[in-house]
Each structure stands twice: as structure tokens, then as C-alpha cells.
């Protein structure tokens, strides 16, 4: 018999409807799995078993009522246990962003994305580990310890949504929320062999998402398949009056009953197959492109000529925005305080002691890029080159419907491998940053394994607000392949 935690989200939703399983049983199965594996993986920063059980019991009561009137709509997320990245506020539950400066912070309200999922009946198992303030590509920057990759405990799960990716891959939950500012959903999804969606900038409300880079931050989700992702996207997407950057455009109804990609044009950008890319990654991505071709897609080579400038642009713009956003951690309204006689010294001491090394590095870099005399040369110039990168995508999307490329140059690297070399770590993001700078959506999904049995991921990017194209294409791919069904041996 299949373990309950091995069911897909859609299988679990179907079993709940039929009454074959209760939400309480699913929740208890996930909690048992978390208890068994958490000592090895450290995917969670806070666990909420009491909340989960009480939500599951309510979901079960509502399911009983629903079965009397099954013609009424019921979200597919109803009764499904999920985990939430610890940068998204959940009212009353500790939300730390992986930082000591928010130790014991209990948000007075929930993020719109989170409350919409809770309205859709989900069960919340806990908050997942992240690089501090989502700044990192491995979770090694979490102040509360690294998450381990379920496929190889000596390796990183990717980041910054590494806790969410590890939890989904290890079957601790059916889905998890993540956020993607420079690749933080797609890269950990790739490293952990699961499916991850970075939504279009402005598609899902950022209200209650603790800000890092405000022109780049997006809410996303991680599951095992594209079809499992869809109910979460549907629940969260759409305008929110509390976020003026959340677009009023209607969210299309997406159906995944067709796996024919005839007429879909997919572009493969030549700039993404560069020296330094692991040969197995390139081979797996190119084989996956052949699968799309067999499904009816038309493949052509395209060019995004400013790709190599995305990294320097991102690492000026994101730290600049972060330096402004993180000014709010002043030990006045929340967080611990290192007491001083003078307010000025209290700022200096608290922020110096409680922010971690990467956060201090980025605040310093961002402050420099914004400072008098350097603003035009760095921040201003980065914003102009950002226009060129965005224009690259707009030009290519006149010729093709989707762009297919690797997620990261390599599979999961070893914990500690990049030591204290920030630039080496930043290079991990080279293929994911452009989508954030252009604001376009992307979906990462597994397309193979390397010789060490580590998952290889690839991504598709689509035009702004065209998540529909991503869902259709990745779902079609997953009807023809079984990479997404493999699970780590834990």
C-alpha cells in the first residue's frame, strides 16, 4: 500500500473527497514523517502541530458537510497539509526570516498569500528554513543552521527556499510556499528534484511577505508536479487591494487535460550553455527539449544577448533595495535589543550583532551603490542595463511562447563548498536572475539525474502573466517522463 505521504496533492485531494482518508490522517502522517526526518534534514524553523491538527479537524467537518452537497465548489487545497517559508507572515506564529534580528517575532497579521491558502482549507505544518532574509542560494546563511538535501545529506538543498524544497522532496508535506527574488524557488526545486513556480512579478500579493528586493520579490510554490502546483497558484493569484504592485489582471482558469503542445514555440537561448556548465546538466536539458519536440512543440535557437550582465545588475539592485528595506530593523518596534545608553549606539550594536555576515555584506554593498557620488555609476547604470535585459525577453517573446534553459550550472553542491567566497555563491544564480529582472514567470522541474544520483532541473520562462503556458508545457512533459516520481532514499 502507498504511504499517505507518497500520494500526490491531487491524489490526496481526491481521496479526501471520496472519504477514503481524512485530513487528520494526512496531517498525522506528515507530522510523523517530519518527526522522523527532521533531525537529519532540518527543514523547519517552527513546527505547528497543534494548529495543524485543529485545522485538519475543521477541514474534516467541512468535508462531511460538503459530501451532503457535493455539487458545491470545494478548493483542491482543502484539507491538504502544507509548509510555509519563514519569510511569509502567519499571524501569531514565530516568523524569523532565518535571522536572529527577528527571533521570537510573532506577526500581528498573515500574508495575503498565506491567508488565501488558509481560506482554501490548507493545514499549516510549520515554517521552513531559509537563508537569512532570503539572501543566499543554499540555506547556509540561515542563522539557525543549514538544511540538508534529502538526496545527499552532505549537500545543500539550494536556497533560499531550501527548507520548503527539502520538505516537499522528503514527503514531509504535499506542497510548500517559497519566494523567488533571484532564483530562490527554482534553484532549490532543481537541487531537490521537484517542481517550483516563480510567478510573474505582480501576480501574487506581497502583502505580509517580509521585503528583500521589492522590485524583484515574488511569491511562489513548490510541489512534486505541475498539476499539484496549480491549485496553490489558483488560490493565491489575483489582485489584492493591500499591495499596489499586485496586478488587477484576471487570473485565467487553467485546465491541464491536454498534453498536446502542437504549435507551441519554444526558444533555447544560446547564452545559457556556457563554459563551466556541468556536462550532465546540458545533456539532460537538451534531452528534455527533445521531449517537448516530440510533444509537438517547435524548437528554435534564440538569443538573449545581455544575459551575462544580469548577475552584476542583480547584485547592485537587490542589495540597494535590501539596504532600504532592512532599515526597519531598529530594535524599537520588534526583535531583540542590545541595550545602550544612546539610541544611535543601540542601532549600531543591535544591527551589527544580530544580522548575519551575508546580510551585512549586502546592506553595505547596497548602501554604497546608493551613496552620493556612486549612485549614477552603480545603481543608476544597473537600472538602465536592467532595461536591456527586460527588452531581450520582450524581443524573444515576439518569436517564441516559452524559453527553455537550465536552472543552475551544476547539481547540488556540498555544504561548505563555497566557503567564504560570496562571488562564487552568486554565480549559482546566473541562470535564474534574468527572469526576476524582467519580471517574467518561470517553472523549474526535474529532467534527469547526474552520476551521483543528484537531481537535474531545467526551467521554462514565459511572458509576463502567462503562467498558463508554463503549467501546460510542464504538465505535458510530466505525462511523458517519470523523473518527478523518483524519491530520495531516506
Amino acid at each position: 500500500m502507498t504511504a499517505l505521504t507518497d500520494l500526490s496533492l491531487l491524489e490526496a485531494a481526491s481521496a479526501l473527497r471520496k472519504g477514503d482518508v481524512s485530513s487528520t490522517e494526512l496531517t498525522e502522517a506528515c507530522l510523523a514523517r517530519i518527526e522522523a526526518l527532521e533531525p537529519q534534514l532540518h527543514a523547519f524553523l517552527a513546527q505547528t502541530p497543534d494548529l495543524a491538527i485543529s485545522q485538519a479537524k475543521i477541514a474534516d467537518q467541512q468535508l462531511q458537510e460538503w459530501r451532503k452537497k457535493p455539487e458545491e465548489p470545494l478548493p483542491l487545497t482543502h484539507g491538504i497539509p502544507v509548509a510555509i517559508k519563514d519569510v511569509l507572515c502567519l499571524e501569531g506564529v514565530p516568523t524569523t526570516c532565518g535571522s536572529r534580528i527577528l527571533e521570537d517575532f510573532r506577526p500581528p497579521y498573515s500574508a495575503t498569500s498565506v491567508s488565501r491558502l488558509i481560506d482554501g482549507g490548507v493545514v499549516v505544518l510549520g515554517k521552513t528554513n531559509t537563508d537569512e532574509f532570503a539572501m543566499g542560494s543554499s540555506t547556509e546563511n540561515s542563522a539557525y543552521g543549514t538544511t540538508h538535501n534529502p538526496w545527499d545529506l552532505n549537500r545543500v538543498p539550494g536556497g533560499s527556499s531550501g527548507g520548503s524544497a527539502a520538505a516537499v522532496a522528503a514527503r514531509m508535506c504535499f506542497a510548500a510556499l517559497g519566494t523567488d527574488t533571484g532564483g530562490s524557488v527554482r534553484q532549490p526545486a532543481s537541487f531537490c528534484g521537484i517542481t517550483g513556480l516563480k510567478t510573474s512579478y505582480g501576480r501574487i500579493s506581497r502583502y505580509g511577505l517580509i521585503a528583500y528586493g521589492s522590485s524583484l520579490d515574488t511569491v511562489g510554490a513548490l510541489t512534486r508536479t505541475a498539476s499539484d502546483l496549480l491549485p496553490l497558484f489558483t488560490a493565491m493569484a489575483g489582485h489584492d487591494p493591500l499591495d499596489s504592485t499586485c496586478m488587477p489582471d484576471p487570473v485565467p482558469e487553467i485546465r491541464l487535460d491536454d498534453s498536446n503542445l502542437a504549435g507551441v514555440r519554444i526558444g533555447v537561448p544560446k547564452e545559457y550553455f556556457i563554459e563551466g556548465i556541468q556536462a550532465e546538466v546540458e545533456t539532460a536539458v537538451r534531452s528534455a527539449v527533445e521531449v517537448f519536440k516530440a510533444l509537438g512543440a517547435e524548437i528554435q535557437e534564440v538569443s538573449l544577448p545581455h544575459t551575462d550582465l544580469a548577475l552584476p545588475v542583480y547584485y547592485l539592485i537587490a542589495p540597494a533595495e535590501a539596504s532600504a528595506n532592512l532599515a526597519r530593523y531598529d530594535a524599537v518596534r520588534f526583535g531583540p535589543r542590545l541595550k545602550s545608553e544612546k539610541l544611535w549606539d543601540q542601532y549600531l550594536k543591535t544591527r551589527g550583532a544580530l544580522f548575519g555576515p551575508e546580510v551585512k555584506r549586502r546592506i553595505t554593498l547596497g548602501t554604497y551603490a546608493l551613496s552620493a557620488g556612486y549612485y549614477d555609476a552603480y545603481y543608476g547604470q544597473a537600472q538602465k542595463v536592467r532595461t536591456l535585459i527586460k527588452d531581450d525577453f520582450e524581443t524573444v517573446f515576439k518569436e517564441v511562447d516559452l524559453i527553455a534553459c537550465p536552472v543552475a550550472p551544476t547539481t547540488a553542491f556540498r555544504i561548505g563548498e563555497h566557503g567564504d567566497d560570496p562571488l562564487a555563491m552568486y554565480l549559482e544564480d546566473v541562470f535564474t536572475l534574468p527572469a526576476n529582472l524582467a519580471g517574467v514567470p518561470g517553472m523549474a522541474f526535474p529532467v534527469g539525474f547526474d552520476r551521483n544520483d543528484l537531481p537535474i532541473g531545467m526551467q521554462l520562462n514565459a511572458p509576463h502573466l502567462d503562467e498558463l503556458a508554463l503549467f501546460r508545457a510542464v504538465h505535458a512533459y510530466q505525462t511523458q517522463t517519470d523523473w518527478h516520481l523518483r524519491k530520495p532514499d531516506l
Binding site: R106, P108, Y109, G202, S215, H239, S244, T245, M247, L309, L311, P312, V313, Y315, L316, A327, D330, A331, V332, R333, F334, G335, P336, R337, K339, S340, E341, K342, L343, W344, Q346, L348, R351, G352, A353, F355, P357, K360, R361, I363, T364, L365, T367, Y368, Y378, G380, Q381, A382, Q383, K384, V385, T387, L388, K390, D420, P422, L423, Y426, L437, G439
Partner: protein, 95 residues
């Protein structure tokens, strides 16, 4: 482009970050490498290129100006490191 230890200390002070001498030294080296890497941006001709501050259309959607309840004072203050008489308490700002 390279940053000196003194420049790092000055910037950190602007950002209200107290760094240890060891951190100042390390960041001076690391930020210099990052800025050196970023120098390739300076070679791009952007004379005719407008900056992108947001990828969205410039007009943000407005919401109706209707008052709505905010979280109660006790709930907000419950996160404060120190509070007194319904307010946040801070050390003296002026001598």
C-alpha cells in the same frame, strides 16, 4: 574599483551597522571583488536607455479610500523589546 577599510567603516556607519575590525577587513576585500566584477556594467553604452525601476506599467491600481480596522495596540506592542504606557520605549535621542 576597490574599497578601503575606512570606506567600509564609513558606509557601515551610514547603514547603522557596527562591524568588527575583522569584518571591515574581510568586507573591504570581498566588496572590492564584487565591484570589480560589476565594472563590466560601466562599459555598456546606456546613453539612450531609460532606467527600469519596476517592470509594471507605471500607474499603480488604487484602492477605494475606506477606513479599515488595524491590529489592536497590545498586539503590536507585544513584539516590542520595551514598551511603556502604550508606547514603544527607546533610550534618549537628545542629550
Amino acid at each position: 574599483m576597490s574599497l578601503t577599510v575606512e570606506e567600509v567603516r564609513h558606509i557601515a556607519d551610514l547603514a547603522r551597522l557596527q562591524l568588527t575590525p575583522e569584518e571591515e577587513r574581510r568586507y573591504a576585500g570581498q566588496l572590492s571583488s564584487i565591484l570589480e566584477y560589476a565594472a563590466r556594467l560601466l562599459e555598456v553604452d546606456t546613453a539612450q536607455i531609460p532606467p527600469t525601476a519596476t517592470v509594471l506599467p507605471l500607474r499603480a491600481p488604487l484602492r477605494p479610500d475606506i477606513p479599515r480596522p488595524c491590529p489592536p495596540r497590545e498586539k503590536i506592542l507585544s513584539n516590542a523589546p520595551e514598551s511603556e504606557a502604550g508606547m514603544f520605549r527607546v533610550p534618549p535621542v537628545l542629550e
